[in-house]
């Protein structure tokens, strides 16, 4: 092989994938961005002109403000629930003995691969009206006195989404725990630290990068989730993804739907990249 052939080899090997991505990922995304600048009318359809009408509407109309605010509020609470409940579970899981550890890891991570429609259907059945099982359980546990509305509410969407995305958090914290040196914990115990001191001063600071990277994944997936908010939230409780779906398949105002989707993408990329940078900078100092 000549030097030129060697230099070209990796590009030739990646050529099929590169062509595929140029044609089926980059081109459609560019077209969608362009679409968001097109005009649309009830009778004239899509007009390929370059105007800022959709962007002005999405950025100034209070309806869209409220909808985006709701989307990110739901994503925030989902992330909070996942971190609050998923991180301790990963820790408990990590301390289990051999057969149980593998079994429960399968039980907790497995739902990740089960159809999100089936899982959300399960929550719709559990919430189902005032006689739903969740309300019965909460009432018999004495936690609430009257049934809470879950169906078609933000609370319901948050609970169901937290369930759908929980495995990602457990997975991220689990991965961080695998890198932890148990000798440090033992050293702390030998030096007289109680179990809570060990947790707070030794374990938590070391798994924090795992919790934060899990939080970034869960937040991004929660803010762009579609099936769960569509089924649990119903037609009235709109988030960015269900609104974009409506504009595309019901109202048929594609340019406006494209603007909503592009804005969601840009906001998410900004949040994810920004948060990742912050986490990296914060922990680069700790771990070098």
């Amino acid at each position: 092989m000549g030097a030129v052939a060697v230099r070209a080899a990796p590009y030739l090997l990646s050529l099929p994938a590169l062509l595929l991505f140029a044609g089926v990922v980059v081109a459609p995304l560019v077209m969608t961005v362009l679409l968001s600048f097109h005009d649309w009318g009830q009778y004239k359809g899509i007009e390929p002109v370059f105007i800022l009408k959709n962007w002005k509407e999405v950025l100034t109309d209070s309806y869209f403000h409220e909808m985006f605010w709701r989307t990110f509020r739901i994503a925030f609470f989902v992330t909070l629930l996942a971190a609050l409940f998923g991180a301790p579970e990963a820790y408990i899981l990590n301390r289990m003995r051999s057969p149980w550890r593998g079994l429960f890891l399968l039980v907790i991570l497995g739902p990740l691969l089960i159809s999100v429609v089936a899982r959300t259907l399960g929550w719709a059945l559990l919430f189902g009206g005032n006689s739903g099982l969740v309300n019965k359980a909460l009432m018999s546990a004495g936690l609430i006195s009257a049934p809470l509305p879950f169906m078609f509410t933000e609370t319901g969407v948050v609970v169901a989404l937290a369930h759908v995305l929980m495995p990602y958090m457990v997975l991220a914290v689990w991965a961080a725990l695998q890198r932890l040196d148990p000798q440090i914990e033992n050293a702390a115990v030998a030096l007289g630290a109680g179990p809570f001191t060990v947790l707070r001063r030794i374990v938590l600071p070391q798994v924090m990068p795992g919790i934060l990277s899990g939080a970034i994944i869960v937040f991004a997936l929660a803010a762009s989730a579609f099936a769960t908010p569509a089924i649990i939230g119903g037609r009235r409780l709109k988030v960015a993804s269900t609104l974009a779906y409506d504009e595309f398949l019901n109202t048929l105002n594609w340019p406006l739907g494209a603007a909503v989707a592009v804005l969601l993408l840009v906001a998410l990329v900004a949040i994810v990249v920004g948060a990742s940078r912050l986490v990296e900078r914060r922990y680069a100092q700790v771990f070098g």
């Binding site: 994938a17 990922v25 991570l109 691969l113 089960i114 059945l125 559990l126 099982l133 569509a230 089924i231």
Partner: protein, 268 residues
């Protein structure tokens, strides 16, 4: 390593209940003998499982999902192998950018991809076609296929290949007899993970599937949007059973943790 206390085990029990409750509830309701949604207690019936056969939309959507998943995952693996070899073996300008590009479908929300594909396929005349579905699914499952093929390409011992070359094997023979058999377990698990992701995908597919090309999750989703009845719970119970079976096989064969955590170049 210290043991979990009773408090930790109580928490663990609650957590596992939370994770399993919605899945078990679907399977439970599926066995109702009634014509409406109810939790069967003393009477169990398979009537809603038989009812699936009388609803051809679900059956044909199931087969379509199966073919779509198998085909798009196979093509995704085939495209991934040379790309993974390039990324694993060469240092070249644009290597990082290329890897990021191939992994990008994991980062871009599926709702955005769905919209982009809808616009694109409508423009080029592939709107609502099976070919369009295959193209879109190849792209969204490629990161999973690439991640696992890449892991096995990086883990490959080059000394074996060098030994084959020194014994007089041609490049083609080395590829066919040494390299491919060595990365085969990675390819198989990459295909399996890609298949499951294709089989479950709903958010993107709901945009590009037309009434004749709906996949099973899309059909289920659209059905639930109209009404929730025992039929959709029995369909869901079948989907859950199939996924659990595949999950157990994959866990035995490869280890679920390795499959999900992965060991790509960027640690994802």
């Amino acid at each position: 390593m210290s043991k979990n206390g009773p408090l930790a085990l109580a928490y663990h029990t609650l957590f596992v209940t939370f994770m399993l409750a919605p899945i078990l509830v679907v399977c439970w309701v599926a066995f109702t003998p009634e014509g409406f949604l109810s939790f069967p207690t003393d009477n169990w019936s398979l009537r809603w499982f038989y009812a699936i056969a009388r609803y051809p939309e679900f059956v044909s959507a199931f087969w379509r999902s199966l073919w779509l998943g198998a085909l798009s995952s196979a093509i995704a693996v085939a495209v991934s192998v040379p790309a993974a070899l390039a990324i694993a073996r060469y240092r070249f300008p644009g290597r990082e950018a290329m890897t990021t590009l191939f992994m990008s479908p994991l980062m871009i929300p599926h709702i955005v991809l769905g919209i982009a594909f809808l616009r694109f396929f409508t423009q080029i005349g592939l709107g609502g076609t099976f070919v369009g579905l295959v193209l879109a699914h190849i792209v969204i499952v490629l990161p999973f296929a690439l991640r696992l093929t890449l892991a096995s390409a990086i883990g490959l011992d080059r000394a074996i290949e060098h030994a084959a070359v020194s014994l007089g094997a041609s490049e083609w023979v080395v590829l066919r007899r040494i390299t491919l058999p060595l990365v085969l377990p990675g390819l198989a698990s990459g295909w399996a993970l890609a298949f499951i992701n294709s089989f479950d995908e709903v958010t993107m597919t709901v945009f590009i599937a037309a009434p004749g090309t709906e996949t099973l999750p899309v059909r289920m989703f659209l059905y639930i949007q109209d009404n929730i009845d025992p039929l959709v719970t029995s369909v869901s119970a079948c989907v859950i059973a199939i996924t659990v079976a595949a999950l157990v096989v994959m866990d035995r064969a490869y280890g679920l943790e390795k499959l999900l955590v992965g060991r790509g170049v960027d640690g994802r």
